[in-house]
């Protein structure tokens, strides 16, 4: 029953927010924050509960049901947390924009729909919530008009293709098993033929592949992330895209079942290895494309695709360690990317909407909190020790190496080094280097932006030093899938083939750091100088001209640029044009002249007559 109330609050809150906005904008803002925080608290209270099948509605004789277990709790908690933080972040960021009632309603609606998806226990409610999510996302992506509209359309077209695949899959499942409740399907599917299972998995795989932007299906993502309002970009990258990962988990491990999932042969290779390789490609290419970007949000968007590859890799590889790594990386990555989008948002807000990495710089002294957030965010994306992603990446690498798949591991590791280059460019061009003169007088980011940034930054460190906190939940998830339980403790994972102990690393760095710090203090006190006091070959630094940001990796680009084209995007563009041309041809039938239509009717009647007579009239 609590789930029903929770979802009612979520959806109801969204609509009430809209109408409150008509009364007072302040009230609306507070109410939106209140609703999202309530949801977070409510979800958090569900921790450890596991309940199946609350029926809440009848639909053509099928009961629609909800359920909560460790998997859905994990995702629901993340969804509601990021949702609440982005709503808080929106308060100042969206101030003064138009149509805010609509914006807040949509933010809450997306949130509610995602909660619905993770709590849904039957495919109809899953599909309905999925569609609500897709459509409200579309409206939010195209919220700012102009360039955002094509981006939104690109998104919704791909999303619809995915939805159609899913719809088709659901119908087929219903025809075969006469039930739509997930746990019952899981029981029924055991007896199905292997070909049918692959058919179902591919159909749903397309849906979730589009949503989580696996490599050939990723093309909607860069534009959508770039064009949507930044707080929503955070939600979009943080959790919405990762609904695809949830879908993969649900269908591979809950519906199809782990034991079965690894046994399917799809022609040459195993089904999950194909997915692994897709994941590997998804890691490498986007991270290198990200290096070429000059728009801060676009750069992060390409990382959104790239880091998704790690999750797919971990999940599809499917050993206890790999799976744990994949799921953990979903959370860790989300924390990092939400944080990074928020830092970009703070910079954007203060610098008048500028995101171009070539024209920013030196903001560290002006916006220290945003800088700290960005620093921890990029450390997390890289997976530096003591940040959260280190643990998840370590788990994935270790599985791949010990199971003798070094080539997959190579893709994953080289992706990390590509990440370093591009995110360092992001950090440097935003915050380091010389401050342009026009930004001399900008102020710190407002408190409503600082709060989420600080919370997420501390989460990165907390989960990095004590990875046992999320790993414990994940351990229950993977045991519920039927995998061996991991030997998790608060500071890492113990196993006979190599132990991870983050406390050791933490202490080592802490002690080393304090020793060095003492050494640093022993030396003569340094003399503080301004940013302008630089070595410039004996000249005084020319203001505003002493910055190196454009073409940051020029020598590398000379080598790699010819190989880094988005071929998938080109292909889809071509497909699009072909379809448009075809449809244009079809449209010509409707010439708008009555004479033509009479002619069509005559032809049709003649055809009917011809068929009726069986061709005998010849």
């Amino acid at each position: 029953m609590t789930l029903k109330i929770l979802l009612l609050t979520a959806f109801g809150g969204a609509f009430v927010t809209y109408f409150l906005g008509k009364v007072s904008s302040k009230l609306r803002n507070y109410f939106a924050v209140f609703v999202s925080l309530t949801l977070f608290v409510a979800v958090a209270c569900l921790y450890g509960k596991s309940a199946e099948n609350f029926s809440y509605f009848k639909f053509f004789g099928n009961t629609l049901v909800l359920r909560v277990n460790s998997l859905s709790w994990f995702f629901a908690a993340a969804v509601s947390a990021f949702g609440a933080l982005s709503v808080i972040f929106s308060l100042d960021y969206m101030k003064g924009k138009e149509n805010l009632d609509f914006y807040y309603m949509m933010m809450l609606l997306v949130n509610a729909a995602m909660l619905g998806i993770v709590f849904a226990a039957d495919l109809v409610s899953f599909f309905v919530f999925w569609e609500i999510m897709s459509w409200s996302t579309f409206l939010l992506i195209s919220y700012s008009g102009k360039n955002a509209l094509p981006a939104g359309i690109k998104y919704i077209v791909m999303s619809l293709i995915g939805s159609m695949a899913m719809f088709f899959g659901i119908l087929s499942i219903y025809v075969n098993f006469h039930t739509l409740i997930i746990s019952e399907i899981a029981r029924g599917i055991v007896s199905a033929s292997s070909g049918y299972k692959i058919f179902i998995l591919v159909l749903f795989g397309v849906t979730f592949g589009i949503k989580s932007a696996v490599m050939p299906l990723h093309t909607w993502l860069p534009d959508a992330y770039t064009e949507s309002p930044t707080p929503f970009s955070a939600v979009l990258s943080g959790m919405l895209t990762r609904m695809g990962v949830y879908g993969f988990l649900l269908f591979f491990y809950v519906v199809a079942g782990a034991s079965f999932f690894f046994d399917i042969d799809a022609g040459i290779s195993k089904f999950n290895y194909i997915l692994c390789w897709l994941g590997a490609i998804t890691i490498v290419i986007p991270t290198f494309i990200a290096m070429l970007q000059n728009d801060a949000k676009k750069l992060l968007a390409w990382h959104g695709i790239g880091q998704g590859g790690y999750m797919i890799l971990g999940i599809a590889f499917g050993t206890s360690l790999g799976l744990a790594g994949g799921i953990l990386h979903t959370l860790n990555y989300s924390i990092c990317i939400v944080l990074l989008f928020m830092s970009v948002g703070a910079v954007e807000y203060r610098c008048g909407g500028v995101r171009d990495l070539n024209s920013l710089g030196g903001l560290i002294k002006k916006m220290p909190v945003a800088f700290a957030g960005a620093l921890l965010g990029i450390s997390g994306l890289i997976g530096l020790p003591l940040t959260n992603s280190f643990v998840s990446k370590w788990l994935i690498y270790k599985t791949l190496i010990l199971k003798s798949h070094p080539f997959l591991a190579f893709a994953a590791l080289i992706g990390t080094w590509g990440t370093i280059l591009s995110v360092y460019k992001f950090l440097h061009n935003n915050f380091l280097g010389e401050l342009p003169e026009k930004y001399e007088n900008i102020r710190k980011s407002p408190v409503s932006m600082q709060i989420p940034i600080i919370i997420l930054s501390s989460a990165i460190l907390l989960f990095g030093i004590l990875p046992g906190i999320p790993l414990k939940v994940i351990n229950t998830i993977i045991t519920s899938f039927g995998f061996n339980s991991l030997n998790v403790n608060l500071w890492g994972i113990a196993s006979e083939t190599g132990t991870l102990n983050t406390i050791n690393i933490f202490t080592a760095i802490l002690i080393a750091g304090s020793v060095i710090w003492m050494l640093f203090r022993v030396g003569k006190k340094s003399f503080p100088v301004t940013q302008d006091d630089n070595y410039a070959a004996g000249a005084y630094v020319p203001a505003g001209k002493y910055n190196y940001t454009a073409d940051f990796y020029a020598p590398l680009f000379k080598i790699v640029k010819p190989y880094l084209m988005d071929f998938a995007d080109k292909f889809f563009g071509w497909l699009c044009r072909v379809f448009t041309g075809f449809s244009e041809g079809v449209r010509k039938i409707y010439a708008g002249d009555v004479g033509y239509y009479v002619l069509y009717i005559l032809f049709f009647a003649a055809l009917l007559f011809f068929v009726q007579s069986g061709g005998k009239s010849w």
């Binding site: 890289i382 991870l500 030396g523 020598p555």
Partner: protein
């Protein structure tokens, strides 16, 4: 344990500083000069600590501390002649990642100073590291796949049973590739593009003076120690303190020979070189390690 924790960084410091001195001495002798005394780096470091310096802000101080602390932490995870206080904490993968602290710290520190020479230096350094990481990752994966462990201490102990990895059939190609990229890892000429004094005024160190430069020099010493000791551990089979040190000296002197006779690569030349033969050999080495049991 505690003694090991204290002793290992000290050993690394002494060896690293000794290497710096040896470096200058041998280079001088190859140039037919007399060269500075072996203790010259020590004198330099003492002088630098007594010098005043300028600081461009908090991150400027913080970055250099992080950088050196990262290198120091790596040393605790890296076995030296079987001494490894923190071996059971994640193995080779943790070392590969901890190695990132040093360049990142220096990059952050330099970033606050608003000097384009620093930015160019960082950009070059990152490109170079991407260049040599491609073969290096292949090499590390070959080693880890062959020995079926990620613990570096176990790799060493297995080599002591079966012989040096560089002479074993599945890994000799990886060993060759490692030798080819070692100058790039150590940042010696022809790969000193990141700190090119004549082009970009010593790159990231351009604003460093006094104690900052002293810490950067110590970091460089540690870096030499780490790069060489990793090679000795992975491919030359470790050994006791004396043998290990001897092997390190041997590898190091080979590196110095390369350093003192080569001019400097351009950045893209360096990357092209590293992604050419070394990467190819490393790839073949990985295939060999996977196929040959």
């Amino acid at each position: 344990m505690v003694i090991k924790l204290i002793a290992l960084p000290l050993i690394a410091f002494v060896i690293g500083i000794f290497f710096l001195g040896l470096f200058r001495k041998i280079t001088a002798r190859i140039h037919r000069r007399y060269g500075p005394p072996l203790t010259q780096p020590v004198i330099d470091i003492i002088k630098l600590f007594y010098q005043k310096s300028v600081s461009h802000g908090r991150l400027f101080d913080f970055g250099i501390i992080v950088s050196l602390a990262g290198s120091l932490a790596v040393i605790l995870f890296l076995p030296f002649a079987g001494i490894c206080p923190l071996e059971s904490s994640g193995g080779l993968l943790v070392i590969a990642y901890l190695l990132l602290f040093a360049p990142l710290g220096i990059a952050l520190s330099g970033g606050e100073a608003a000097n384009p020479n620093i930015s160019i230096g960082i950009s070059r350094k990152l490109i170079l590291s991407l260049g040599y990481e491609v073969p290096l990752i292949l090499i590390l994966l070959a080693v880890m796949t062959h020995y079926k462990t990620i613990s570096i201490a176990q790799i060493v102990s297995m080599q002591q049973k079966t012989g040096w990895a560089v002479f074993s059939a599945p890994l000799f190609l990886s060993g060759i590739s490692y030798i080819l990229i070692l100058p790039a890892m150590l940042g010696v000429r022809p790969f000193d593009i990141a700190s090119a004094p004549q082009e970009i005024s010593s790159g990231v160190k351009v604003e460093y003076g006094g104690k900052f430069l002293a810490l950067a020099t110590i970091e460089h010493a540690f870096h030499l120690f780490i790069g060489i000791s990793l090679f000795v551990n992975l491919f030359l089979g470790g050994g006791n303190v004396f043998v290990f040190f001897l092997k390190m000296i041997f590898v190091f002197i080979a590196g110095v020979f390369v350093h003192s006779v080569f001019p400097r690569f351009r950045t893209e030349q360096a990357v092209k070189y590293l992604w050419g033969w070394p990467a190819l050999i490393a790839l073949l080495g990985l295939v060999l390690a996977v196929t040959v049991k």
